[in-house]
Symmetry: C2
């Protein structure tokens, strides 16, 4: 009797699997991270959380890409060394491995290149690569980790940023309600959220926000149909190319976990997801949406909140008397 | 045969337990936390990590009591709102439940009273209790947590600080090598560390640094035999009592995890544990120690590093459009 029931259950499961193949949609599920180099990921996690990579000894990667807060800082723009106001909204680190390039203007090709940026940016961590490496090289446990993982006697910034990038690649957020729906669980989305997804496609949002990350795979002009008003001076891709056609062209941000990554847009000017949807529809698509339509799209967007990375807080190896000391309040030479 | 071996093993273990009762020493082992209210601890953990308890939305309890770094910030004095330089070294939160009072001058009776301090301190988190509670009250998941744990419809600062304190009570660090030695494992300490402990007692350090926390249970004058030179203006207990006899009287800090909680003393002026031991012996005890003696005492002190609290990083419930927005760069009214 028990065996028969088990057989029936097995058949039932198989049938369900056959009956609900993955849906053919312009958005695909996020897949869980497959960790092949756990020691490297663990080292990268320590580095991601280590404020000694900053001049002050106070700011870590996690300060502005806070993994308790959707991988962002939930501020319009970030607080940098000496409380400087950053020039642009801090993008989420979650699922950032799916981006075609890093930073809003795509100036870094990949996560490793990105990771070196904030360390040496005077507005952010305010340090230099040499000084950061010098700190790590003074800490025996770090030296040992780099030696055993990278087979190097002398740490360089390349290993540091590689380890951080390997950790960041694990920061994916699978199994969102929308992904469950994509995989065949019809009950994973409410009727309103499903209506929101249909609108998202019909209105045209999906033209830019598609793929597994629901964005992150193209550059587009902010304010395509109608200009975007902002006091933020960021030029977008034009800042790199000098080409006026690239003015206000930014990487399309991922909409994964957008519920957690307020405030929105490169200037962080909008806090309410409803408002952000309204602005996008008007400025990018020339569409004035009804209030109910906006609510439905927002419900769909909230179904993109996936399982957040869960891990024990890392323990950082202690400094030694030889470790260069942080300088949070050093006089700035002009 | 198997059963016989098992019996022999059982007898062996019992014999060991009888042969090595806990040592009768002026320092006692740290006991692991017994969590009786896990939901409250979990809420307190969220609050401890939530920067929305600060005006800027950037500074959390964990910013200056970083649980990846021995529950401290490893800075001489802390960085507060608007990058203000704090007046005193941030004491470790680890084992702080064992302190007879909180803060260097003992001005808070317990952890709950302490927890309210930094939130409302203009030099630290720069917020007010009312504003912090207002932020939490705008977040449905927090409201629900407080309701189910405290049976309150309206959150007040009392529940907020109670939950933080309950979490902090779990931040004990049992099973340090020294504790293993106390409990009978003679191999847990090296000969030099054991010699260091004997010196620690003979020289007189143990007069103030005793009990399970190896300190934290009395107030003593900094610079008892010889004055302590510092530019730090902190007055110690005299700042509260106005009594000149209390000048430079501070709570004796715990030496648990002292390897991780550099730099040392209320002004954070000493980074090298050897130097700190030397200064203490001269100023408090009138003893000039030999270099080898200092090294041995330092080795003993490093045997006080216990198991650090290990838990998954908390996920913070997202703000809503109704949540008052952080003000990291608001103009300061003079």
């Amino acid at each position: 009797m028990f065996k028969l029931s088990l057989l029936a259950l097995t058949i039932g499961l198989s049938t369900a699997a056959i009956a609900a193949p993955q849906k053919n949609e312009p958005i695909q599920p996020i897949e869980p991270a497959v960790i092949t180099q756990p020691a490297k990921v663990e080292l990268g996690k320590q580095l991601f959380f280590d404020p000694r990579l900053s001049k002050s000894g106070f700011i870590s990667c996690n300060s502005c890409h806070n993994l308790s807060m959707g991988g962002s800082d939930n501020l319009p723009s970030s607080i940098g060394h000496n409380w400087q106001e950053g020039p642009i909204n801090s993008p989420t680190v979650l699922n950032s491995s799916l981006n075609l390039a890093q930073f809003w203007d795509g100036r870094a090709a990949d996560l490793q290149e990105q990771a070196g940026g904030p360390i040496a940016n005077p507005m952010e961590m305010g340090f230099t690569h040499d000084l950061a490496v010098g700190v790590l090289a003074s800490i025996p446990q770090y030296v040992q980790s780099f030696k055993s993982i990278y087979k190097v006697e002398k740490i360089t910034i390349n290993e540091v940023t590689d380890a951080i990038a390997e950790f960041e690649k694990t920061l994916v957020t699978p199994n969102a309600p929308f992904d469950q729906w994509l995989k065949g669980d019809e009950k994973a989305l409410s009727a309103d959220a499903l209506a929101g997804y249909k609108l998202f496609k019909e209105v045209g949002c999906v033209a830019c926000h598609n793929g597994p990350a629901v964005g992150g795979n193209s550059f587009q002009k902010m304010g395509l149909i109608q200009a975007y008003e902002t006091k933020n001076p960021a030029e977008g891709v034009a800042g790199l190319t000098g080409n006026d056609l690239d003015r206000f062209k930014f990487k399309v941000p991922t909409l994964r976990n957008v519920e957690l990554t307020y405030p929105y847009f490169h200037d962080g000017a909008y806090w309410d997801l409803d408002d952000a949807v309204d602005v996008m529809a008007r400025l990018q698509l020339g569409r004035q949406l009804e209030k109910e339509q906006i609510s439905q799209i927002t419900l769909f967007l909230k179904s993109l909140t996936g399982e957040q990375p869960s891990f024990a807080i890392p323990m950082l190896p202690p400094s030694t008397p030889q470790t260069p000391r942080p300088e949070p309040f050093a006089k700035v030479s002009q």
